[in-house]
Amino acid sequence: MNRFGYDRPSDVAEAVRDGNARGVRFLAGGSNLVDLMKENVERPVRVVDINRLPLHAIEDHDGGLRIGALATNSETAWDARVEAKYPVLASSILAGASPQLRNVATAGGNLNQRTRCLYFYDNTTACNKREPGTGCSAIGGVNRVNAILGASPSCIATHPSDMCVGLAVLNATVNVTGPLGDRTIPFADYHRLPGEDPSRDNTLKPGELITSIDLPDEDFSGNYTYLKLRDRLSYAFALVSVAVVMRIENGRIAEARIALGGVAHKPWRSKTAEGLLVGEVPSQSAFLAAAHALLEGAQGQGANDFKIGLARRAIVRACRQAADGTPQSQIDKRVA
């Protein structure tokens, strides 16, 4: 690790002042930042430890929930209100990392965790995300974990979070504050595609701090699932994951939301795909049509070509689980 200065502000205004300088990083649970600092991928001048800020609470808000940026992943997944009303979020969190990591990983840190592209971690290789302008080693390289959707000639990285895939189908919003004041970002606009500037993972402006995440007053506890497929049954990042929530009225799908993880630079949704399901009686053919629409334009990079077929089958299976009201628990390791 490089040498760095350390601040421990006790209120948000002070943290924003401390964070308002180049080379400064906010430190929450540290499970991603400290890891990257050990690899010399992150070399902050100064670290602002935000753990003493009053952003830990999970509170009722506007009929929904407000999850503090510092609520840990364990606290969120096991919150009785999350379990009851937003089980797709609880399930997506419990699919990720390990119990120890979830005890320190925070909501804000989970959103801002960096990609797991192998080359991003390897300082000896070219990587536009780590060092803009150097090139992308994953294109034509070892790219089993990389993107099949929304990639660019500059970067084919994926966002590795499970929790964010759950948040995507819940239409969450992200509350931030910073040198220019407060604003609220719809979840779909929070993460971005790499385009020509893969160094930016999200739409936060320099110095902005996440303060909380809001879940709207909606209840998808009947028809949902979070299905995660990976190289081992636990404690591995998703190759493909699918979050689905549905509202079913009189035997027909009134609303469906599907998000994919592990396949793009952000959780992947498609209005067209979701629209295809509205008014349909749940069926294999309807799910398959939605899967095709959601994967429209998918492009393999060689070693990850398998993700296209895997995603198609995973979408169909996840839609079936959601429609039947038979979500697969993260303890249940059936793979087919």
Partner: protein, 171 residues
């Protein structure tokens, strides 16, 4: 409107930070650099080498300790962040010569071979029972998935934990 960030005020010089921790019931004071991990602090400054460094990247669980009662990976924890916390390591679990029930269960069930992962497994298992979310063998296996065992003692580890799962004093 994109913001331009100010240049950092030079504060990179080595600055030691004073922290207090309670480690296995004993109050300890340290002046440390901010980049010292809790794992290195325990091993290098307190000679508590029971906590192991496996991967140093959050990927194996060998460094698992209990911080304010919760299991965490000490390798990814900067010690300064935990100022004021109570830390429990494998060395602090027994009462005198009487092993903690979880330690005894690991011996009774032959739940290790080389033993390198064992301190982390035991701290993790105690943390898991305190969480109270792992009911039944499949749930134990999933909730212990943050601890790898290269010797593959998983079956006996699960047996050991299952044998004390219901006991108050195993938490």
């Amino acid at each position: 409107m994109p913001t331009k960030l100010a240049e950092p005020t030079a504060q990179t010089a080595e600055r030691l930070i004073d922290i207090d921790l309670t480690v296995n019931g004993k109050a300890e004071h340290f002046s440390i650099a901010p980049w010292v991990t809790l794992l290195d602090l325990l091993r290098e400054r307190l000679d508590l080498t029971g906590t192991k460094k496996g991967c140093d990247h959050g990927q194996c669980g060998a460094c698992t300790v209990l911080v304010d009662g919760k299991r965490v990976n000490s390798c990814l924890t900067l010690a300064v962040v935990r100022d004021g916390s109570e830390i429990q390591t494998i060395e602090g679990l027994s009462s005198g010569d009487t092993l903690h029930p979880m330690q005894q269960a690991f011996i009774d069930h032959d739940a290790f071979q080389c033993g390198y992962c064992t301190p982390g497994q035991i701290c993790s298992a105690i943390g898991m029972l305190r969480e109270g979310k792992a009911d039944g063998r499949d749930a134990i296996r999933e909730n212990m998935s943050g601890n790898l065992c290269r010797c593959g003692a998983y079956t006996n580890i699960a047996d050991a934990i299952e044998s004390v799962q219901g006991r108050e004093d195993a938490r």
